[in-house]
Amino acid sequence: MKQTASIISTYASDVSGVCSALYELGGMTVMHDPSGCNSTYNTHDEPRWYDFDSLIFISALSEMEAIMGDDDRLIEEVVETALQLKPKFIAIAGSPVPMVIGTDFKAIARVIEKKSGIPCFGFTTNGMHSYLSGAGMAFEAFAQRMVDPADKAEGKHRVNILGATPLDFSVNGSVDSIKIWLEQNGFEVNSCWAMGSELEDLVHSGRADVNLVVSQSGLKAAKVLNKQFGTPFVMGVPVGLDCSKLLAERLIQAEQSGQCSTSFTRNVVNGEEDIVLIAESIYGCSLASAIEQKTGKNVRVICPLEGEKDILMPHDVFATDEVELMPVLEKAKIIIADPLYQPICPKDAKFIPLAHEAFSGRIYRSEIPNMIGEGFNHWFAEHIGG
């Protein structure tokens, strides 16, 4: 049946997505939860936890508060702590129990903001959606609320990178490599949502000429910025030299035309595919595109998370449950996926591990490759070759 996993892991949740997205921006994020979300997030979903002090807390929701619908303690504690620690903004994110009791996070956020004088966001997360959903709503809300509407693009090839979190890009230098790649191609990095940028950089995102959406979590913010400033966006990750070149061209085209696009050139498959790749949709399509170009082989992307159907090829699939995944994997000759998927892969298939922090957490962190630009070629030579 669906919803059961006799063997495999599960992806980071929407609550973790909110925390991860806002981690470096100087705010204070409170998970409204009794306890478990905190250790899950800071152990498995947040590689920056030990070295980078960010104000991420839990509310320590108790049984009686939940039964009595007591939001007052949450509000008081958040306001008191915020007044002591002085974050630049506050975010409250829900977990399963607040969903069951119908907690109104938007209203709570309004009360906190009024009492503290600090901008406050309320996110109706519930631990039942993936990190992409949570990070996406955090970035979207930030774009709607915090970005300076007075800014405008000045035609200086400025780019915002949207959707960069360690859950998709780990802390292995991939995001820095994207920035370097942009600069090498004549762009200026205006901001990175949200690794390695200050809150003030994001506030002035309206100065960018084009937005580069590197994961699904950046897409909603891209649409807000497109609506607000007319900034076009391109979806893609600069994986491999050939695909990176195409992505740079698409960014320039978007800047000139104002039209949004993707950077994938995928094979149209009628028969069986040679390679199956399990990944987040934008990263997966970028990597599949690079592999197809290099090998001429067909790649089928399995997206186990939320994603835009439009960017997938007809032979790609969304599959979240073990029982949905196993039939798709059954005939695969080569499977590229996080190592924690291996137990459900056929034994006669060649398995190429590609760890994903959002799935296996810290277990294989040291093995997550930096696929940006030339990095892909090294990985390709090691794992796929001719």
Partner: protein
């Protein structure tokens, strides 16, 4: 990229002199921070102590993530499955069917049926009024060869009634059934870590010719079931009290609490009680006391007046340990704990009277995230959280008492303190390993 953007020095509310502290809860309970010291065991680690048993967690994906990766990190993913609760289940109210169908599906796909299955339900089941007795009745009918037990991942209950930790330890022994007793056998229950074989109580039991059983030493499910034969149970961890009470009621096994204390007289009293239960004369422990004194003196000659910080993950009785060390001339300056168990009161009051400047420091308080973790002088930490919060690489890396007990435990501890003082450790790496002592953890 990595940096601290905060520069916070005001620790009011997050630290207090013991002379001004309230017992048992010195701090206001507010928003909570989680330090990256992860050596203590969680309910997955503890549940894995039943050999050959399979765990099925039923909860939202966000709650599943922490436990599924715990199992993966300890190399036990093959003994672990999940059933995910989605929004439609909450709205449709089909929680019972989801558990029954989900667990049935999981079991049907395992290579072979396990002898026992631990099903962990969550906070949602509690709030939705899930009919768990019906669930277990149906599952037992469907799988008569499998012993099911109800476990709980409901942290919302940690401040009311039995805590998830207490429930876990109770359920860990719930599969033991009434059987013919072996009158000269005893169990140690509730501990995650095996005791050192020369711990005072283990030594006494073995020397008196009794059979000792401990879940940490069981290699098979059958061996675990043998624990039903014991005539009495010893427990050392406060959270195992519920378990001991239930086994006394259910199986007629009386119990003896031997607290994880460090006061010489308290240890002697516990050992006398054990001797009585074993039907032997109490041993004269004068030589052991002297040996413990000698070891502590030797450690003191190495450590001198270096400040020492102790935390509650190191021992369930951090104040008892603090008192011992202060009495023996060590310079304990701070204790990291958010609250104390009732049996710490006497030590708390003694410390208030005799060392009023001792600092009690919260670990969960939000300010703890941004207060400096750097010290100008060398500090020796006993415990992972104390090491983290004081930024030291000189520490004794033990959790939950580390399997030490009695005078021999103190002798070993003194040696570890001297070693911890002399040899720096990779604190960052060591304290982040989850479930210290559970097998296969990796980072």
């Amino acid at each position: 990229m990595l940096k601290s953007v905060w520069n916070f020095t005001d620790d009011s509310g997050a630290a207090v002199k013991i002379s001004e502290a309230m017992f048992p809860s010195p701090f206001h309970s507010g928003l909570e921070y989680g330090a990256p010291a992860r050596g203590c065991w969680n309910i997955v680690h503890t549940g894995m102590l039943i050999p050959e048993a399979h765990q099925v967690f039923v909860c939202a994906s966000g709650c599943l993530r922490g436990v599924v990766l715990t199992a993966a990190e300890m190399g036990a993913a093959h003994r672990f499955s999940t059933v995910e609760i989605r929004e439609n289940n909450v709205l449709d109210g089909d929680m019972e069917e989801l558990i029954i169908d989900g667990v049935s599906d999981v079991l049907s796909r395992l290579p072979k049926l396990p002898p026992a299955v631990l099903i962990y339900t969550s906070c949602i089941h509690h709030f939705m009024g899930c009919d768990l007795p019906r669930v277990y009745r149906i599952l037992r009918e469907k799988f008569p060869g499998v012993a099911f037990t109800d476990c709980y991942m409901n942290p919302i209950m940690r401040k009311s009634g039995a805590t998830p930790d207490e429930l876990m330890r109770r359920q860990l022994y719930s599969l033991l059934e009434e059987t013919t007793k072996d009158p000269k056998s005893v169990n140690i229950i509730g501990n995650d870590l095996a005791f050192e074989q020369d711990s005072d109580h283990i030594e006494l039991i073995k020397n008196s010719g009794w059979t000792l059983r401990d879940i940490t030493a069981c290699k098979s499910y059958d061996e675990y079931k043998e624990m039903s034969k014991a005539s009495f149970n010893i427990y050392n961890i406060p959270a195992a009290r519920l378990s001991a009470m239930q086994l006394e009621r259910r199986l007629g096994q009386s119990c003896l609490y031997m607290p994880q204390c460090f006061g010489y007289d308290e240890i002697s009293r516990s050992m006398e009680q054990l001797a009585e239960m074993l039907g032997i004369k109490p041993l004269n422990d004068a030589a052991k006391r002297k040996a413990a004194d000698n070891s502590l003196e030797k450690a003191l000659s190495v450590i001198g007046d270096t400040p020492i910080a102790i935390d509650y993950t190191f021992s369930f009785r951090p104040l008892s340990l603090t008192r011992l060390l202060l009495e023996k001339g060590f310079r304990v300056t701070e204790v990291y704990a958010d609250g104390f168990i009732a049996e710490e009161r006497a030590d708390f009051e003694w410390l208030q009277q005799n060392h009023p400047e001792l600092k009690i420091c919260a670990t969960l308080h939000a300010k703890r995230r941004v207060l400096s973790r750097q010290r100008e002088e060398k500090i020796l930490a006993l415990g992972q959280k104390a090491a983290y919060f004081t930024g030291t690489d000189y520490f004794v890396n033990l959790v939950e008492g580390g399997g030490l007990y009695g005078f021999n435990g103190i002798i070993k501890l003194a040696g570890l303190m001297a070693e911890g003082y002399l040899t720096p450790k990779d604190t960052r790496k060591l304290i982040q390993i989850k479930g210290m002592g559970s097998e296969g953890c990796c980072l």
